[in-house]
């Protein structure tokens, strides 16, 4: 029996349609003959990756469990050219048939092709991992809890080491990497001024604009100065600045230290006798804690300026009236409490980013994961700290 037909059409199947299209274009022939329980396949022509879909269709047909062969012979004598991918499909066919205790022989191949078949068919004993069984909800909660516990322990460990490094730096100020403190202040502080100004101007502007509708209804236009002044100095100036710093500098610190870790620069530093915490982390924390209050002060001022613009343009107030009201509404303690917050926010941002950076492992993917982790954790901690400050300042009457 000779079967040299193109692939059987099978409607409604995308795979079949692809197979049919491939068969029309194929430049090889697949003919079969044989008696009961025997199949002899003769392949001829050029069999390359373009022909692989058509070939795979044929291979799958032979492997159909409904077919019951005792022996299959694949004759490659008529093949002019065959590439590695198509050969892999034939080797798969042979391996699969052997597994089903069907004799399968590839014959007539060029010696080079035979060598490639031998390499493809090489099997090493590999200890297969047991398939991971689906985990129950309870198990997942337990694992997540354990991971959180480990992360917290690592964070406390890091803070402990940092305290020791800080004490050492205080006792021996010469060992502090002052060059990096200045560099961090410039990069995280001075370079962030434009974006801090823009965002906080818009925050002050939007806040005043939204409140102007309500204030006008009650003839309380002048209180826009109170609202914008207190909100910017106590809350939004420091918080928005911290969020910007987290996105800019926190992510940069984590990525920078993470890259240094995976490229063995941190190890090199240790072999040169330096303590990474003292040399890399402390300067970043110090630099950011010094720069952040300056940025927050600028944020307060520009946010109030945004509010003043709305007051003049939309609420018919004069600048003099706005600032006179502002001076009565905003106390020095409002500004100082905001600045204190910004220092703590900056410390937390730098600490989390550096801890995540130095905990990086696993190459570029690890750097990305830790950078994302640093930003997400920092944002959460910032909001948490802000809530703590609000309650604390409320209790202290500040």
């Amino acid at each position: 029996m000779i079967d040299a037909d193109p692939i059987e059409p099978a409607p409604d199947s995308f795979g079949d349609r692809i197979g049919r299209a491939a068969a029309v274009l194929s430049r090889f022939s697949w003919s079969t003959r044989g008696g009961p329980g025997e199949l002899e396949i003769s392949l001829a022509g050029r069999i390359t990756l373009d022909e692989a879909p058509a070939l795979w269709k044929r291979v799958a047909g032979v492997l159909d469990p409904a077919q019951r062969f005792q022996s299959v012979t694949i004759d490659l004598a008529g093949v002019n050219e065959i590439d590695g991918a198509c050969l892999a499909l034939l080797v798969h066919l042979q391996t699969e048939l052997s597994r089903r205790r069907v004799r399968c022989e590839l014959r007539g191949a060029h010696p080079d092709v035979q060598r490639l078949i031998a390499l493809y068919a090489r099997r090493r004993r590999i200890k297969r991992r047991l398939p991971r069984r689906p985990r129950s909800v309870l198990e997942q909660i337990g694992e997540a809890t354990a991971e959180t516990g480990d992360a917290l322990l690592a964070a406390f460990d890091f803070i402990g080491e940092l305290v020791m490094a800080t004490l050492h730096a205080l006792r021996n100020p010469r060992t502090l990497n002052l060059r990096d403190v200045a560099f961090t202040m410039e990069r995280a502080g001075a370079d962030a001024v434009p974006i801090v100004l823009l965002i906080n101007f818009l925050i002050g502007f939007v806040m005043a604009y939204q409140s102007s509708v309500q204030l006008r209804q009650f003839g309380a236009n002048i209180f826009v100065a109170d609202l914008v002044g207190v909100a910017m100095t106590r809350e939004l100036g420091p918080l928005m600045t911290a969020i910007i710093v987290c996105g800019r500098s926190g992510a940069a610190f984590a990525a920078e230290l993470g890259t240094m870790k995976v490229s063995e620069e941190v190890d090199a530093l240790r072999t040169l006798g330096l303590v990474p915490l003292r040399y890399l982390v402390l300067p970043r924390i110090c630099g950011l804690m010094l720069a952040a209050p300056l940025l927050a002060l600028l944020a307060d001022a520009i946010g109030i300026a945004g509010g003043a613009l709305v007051a003049v343009l939309r609420l018919d107030l004069t600048l003099a009236a706005f600032f006179t009201e502002l001076r009565q509404a905003v106390q020095l303690s409002d500004v100082l409490s905001g600045l204190a917050k910004s220092v703590v926010f900056a410390g937390a941002t730098a600490l989390i980013a550096c801890q995540q950076g130095l905990a990086t492992s696993g190459g570029a993917e690890g750097v990305g994961r830790r950078t994302t982790g640093a930003v997400v954790s920092t944002l959460f901690v910032l909001i948490l700290l802000d809530a703590v400050f609000t309650v604390l300042f409320g209790a202290l009457g500040l």
């Binding site: 620069e265 190890d267 090199a268 006798g273 990474p276």
Partner: protein, 244 residues
């Protein structure tokens, strides 16, 4: 009586639950070029990290110059290290990389440091590259610069992690030549991880061969002698570069 520079006794280490080496003992003599050999995944670089003090062993003891485990952070380095990738500080120039340890651990004035940096870079064939950033160097140049940095504080012991890996044959041969010169002229003891056969025969005076399957040292001695006389098929497979 021999006075080894490095003495390792009963060393065991691994990653996670996997043990890479179990109860290994060996010594490195002063003035030796000692090679840690083995196939990929046999734990050569991990052994080097333990010798340097970057990892703590699960069991066993490492002594360098008879003073126990190596001390790292907060102490002036007692030896030089070149990592596989060079691990130059990417934000510093080549000159600043070499000068780094001199600034940190000596009271030398900047001019003197500059002179030393120039000489060290000339020694490794990188004169005139002081102001270039590591990103501007080729792979071989980075490794040379890393050797110059490792030599900055005049150590008597140098650890090298696969110095010639990934280099073209000419650069690899030049690096081998440099290691031989450093060993002969400066009397440096060199501990080197490699699996490059030409380098092994060119620079190695003694070696150990790690086997990942038995998690042990399966051969030790002079590499040429091992290649010629050791009957162990695993040793011959390694030195004859035979496929499994």
């Amino acid at each position: 009586m021999s006075d080894p520079l490095i003495r390792v006794e009963g060393l065991s280490y691994g990653w996670g639950p996997r043990l890479l080496l179990e109860s290994a003992s060996f010594e490195v003599e002063r003035g030796d070029v000692f090679l840690i050999l083995g196939g990929s995944g046999s734990g050569k670089s991990t052994l080097l990290r333990h010798l340097i003090g970057l990892e703590a062993p699960r069991a066993g003891r490492i002594e360098i110059a008879g003073i126990g485990a190596p001390r790292l952070e907060g102490n002036a380095p007692e030896y030089g290290v070149m990592f596989q990738s060079g691990a130059l500080f990417s934000s510093l120039t080549v000159g600043e990389n070499v000068a780094f340890a001199l600034h940190e651990w000596t009271e030398l004035p900047p001019l003197a440091i500059r002179a030393i940096v120039k000489a060290k870079l000339a020694l490794v064939g990188l004169e005139g590259t002081e102001d270039r950033l590591p990103a501007e160097l080729s792979g071989g140049m980075k490794k040379r610069a890393a050797i110059a940095r490792a030599l900055a504080l005049e150590p008597s012991l140098l650890f090298l992690d696969e110095p010639s890996a990934g280099l073209d044959p000419v650069s690899a041969a030049e690096l081998d030549e440099l290691i031989t010169v450093l060993n002969r002229t400066l009397g440096l003891t060199v501990v080197m991880v490699t699996h490059e056969l030409p380098s092994i025969f060119q620079v190695g005076k003694s070696c150990i061969l790690l086997d990942p399957d038995s998690r042990s040292i399966i051969a030790r001695g002079n590499p040429r002698a091992l290649a010629q006389t050791n009957p162990d098929p695993r040793v011959q497979q390694f030195f004859q570069r035979r496929a499994r």
